[in-house]
Subunit: 340 residues, 2 copies
Amino acid sequence: MELSDRKKKILQFVVDDYIETAVPVSSKSLTEKHLSNISSATVRNELSALEELGYLTQLHTSSGRVPSAEAYKLYVSDLMVKDKLSTKELDYIKKIFLEKADNLEEVIKSTTKIISELTSYPSVGLKSKDSGEKIENIKFFRFKKDQALVIIVTEYRLLKDNYINVPENMTDEQLQDAEKVLSNMFSGKNFEEICNLKPELQDDFMGYKNIFVNVIEALKVYMQANEGDVVMEGEDKILRHPEYADINKIQNFLSVVTSKDKVMNLLTEDGKDIKINVKIGTDGYDEIPEDCSVVTATYTANGNKLGTYGVIGPIRMDYQKVVAVLENVGKVLESILSKR
Amino acid sequence: MELSDRKKKILQFVVDDYIETAVPVSSKSLTEKHLSNISSATVRNELSALEELGYLTQLHTSSGRVPSAEAYKLYVSDLMVKDKLSTKELDYIKKIFLEKADNLEEVIKSTTKIISELTSYPSVGLKSKDSGEKIENIKFFRFKKDQALVIIVTEYRLLKDNYINVPENMTDEQLQDAEKVLSNMFSGKNFEEICNLKPELQDDFMGYKNIFVNVIEALKVYMQANEGDVVMEGEDKILRHPEYADINKIQNFLSVVTSKDKVMNLLTEDGKDIKINVKIGTDGYDEIPEDCSVVTATYTANGNKLGTYGVIGPIRMDYQKVVAVLENVGKVLESILSKR
DNA sequence: GTTAGCACTCAAAGCCTTCAAGTGCTAACT
DNA sequence: AGTTAGCACTTGAAGGCTTTGAGTGCTAAC
């Protein structure tokens, strides 16, 4: 059912005001602030209709109205006026990124930091493991008789966290040879393609099948491992918001947020093409702490998925600000990283 | 001034009880639980003497007594009975470590996790950057014309987070040659010695002085960089303790604990030979959140400093348990890592 | 469809009383 | 001199009471 224009407008004001003040919104305050042309009684009629429709709730009969999760959803998709950042804020974003632009790890940390600073909410970042990028070549560095570090060079980064076992009787020359064979085999393919290579079907291993199997195994472990790639910033900022005046809520929030794999799940985006993704309330998402919303954005540069970033906060979140920050951070981040 | 045996005993009971219950300790409860041979009036006299001496305080005239920071210090150094872990707990420690023993990163995480689980306090871990270990050799991996990854092999680990710039006109053969020259130069020295090498005094650079300078520069940056090596676990566990019923205290605590460089400072041990280090209360340590204590332990294996681990909690901390856990974790950790 | 007016509801704040835990002190006892 | 029974005194915590005011819903008139 479609809402009348006036209902939409009123609902928007209610959400706006509630986000700003955290105080249930009354008919009187609405007429005073935004609707001086109609009376509070009329607004009351509209409010009770909106309550009937499930967009508003009352804590008790004689309190003002509070938006429901439905209302926030409508607000974000339809009602909200898109915010713009101040030039000061934009300059801040650029400044931080330019200082750190040469190190991907630092960029990820900076991103979460900027987002948290500008929004006043805890922020999270997750760098993608598999961004669809193509592998250029692969290198082994044998640091023990039976162990080697695998260095993988891709289109735009260097992976160096995988280790394989090497047969002790294999000579360094043989390992170098294996390096060449595998480099040829992998070059131009992405991770998914490589992990799906069937050893049985290949006959050009030149005797290095065991090394091949070890590398694939290491890669698979690497792809699955979660943790470690989650970065959080400003967890303590959640306490700035009045809904977290209750210890149980803080407890609940922190227990989710300190568990890296739960945070991981929050960030795994549902839609591939959606840039900004808003999850409001707990509906369906087990990992989200009660009464929380999560707004995430996935950034890409040169067609490669860099990672997903976002904020976690109370349902009563400043969506205007958060969306504006995520969009602008994304723009700067992508423009900087595209140049690399 | 030395306390009488009875005063010591009474003080010990007060601290014991207060740690256990978090309720101010009364003369009556002391006689009932521990001192059935003397009357509560006598205990009251002793308590007020102990208060006079600065070991106890009262919240108000008609409340029981609470230990002061001084009392906790005396308790830890003199009064406390050393706790032993149950075999169940010991088995738990061994089990976790044996599962992860092959990966140093995982060992660090496991360590903080075990400590936090067993003590119910947030725990922190910091792996040492410079453990005094000797460098074996050094390797360059050039992944771009003008950039190379520096891999450093030491007695017992692999460092691979440093990058240097390479002159574009340098051939791969020259870089390999530089690798050999520098490996020879560094081999058998520790980080400190290397960083102190004076380029002017060396004449066997064979033309690779620029590479040498870049490597030293990268190493120095690496040694200084903090963050990233701090691991935390169980931040949310602080809320289990009744002193954190107040939002301001939580705020205060979290703001310290979410800042990695503050946590870093907490863990930089003051004495070199002290294994277990107890910092009680805020006295002198700016980084410690108000009314908190920090207990840390530094672990070594084969003479190499592995890192520092510890817990952060309220002053009213279960020091018996914490010290016992840290000692036992240390034993297991060191025995496992010595075998590597 | 809008609005003035009024009765009704309900949480929050302030105030008062009661309650019980605990101390300090004095005087008597060993 | 050290110990102890006894009692007055203090004080926060808890519960109950009233007051206050913000806000609604409904009705009747416009």
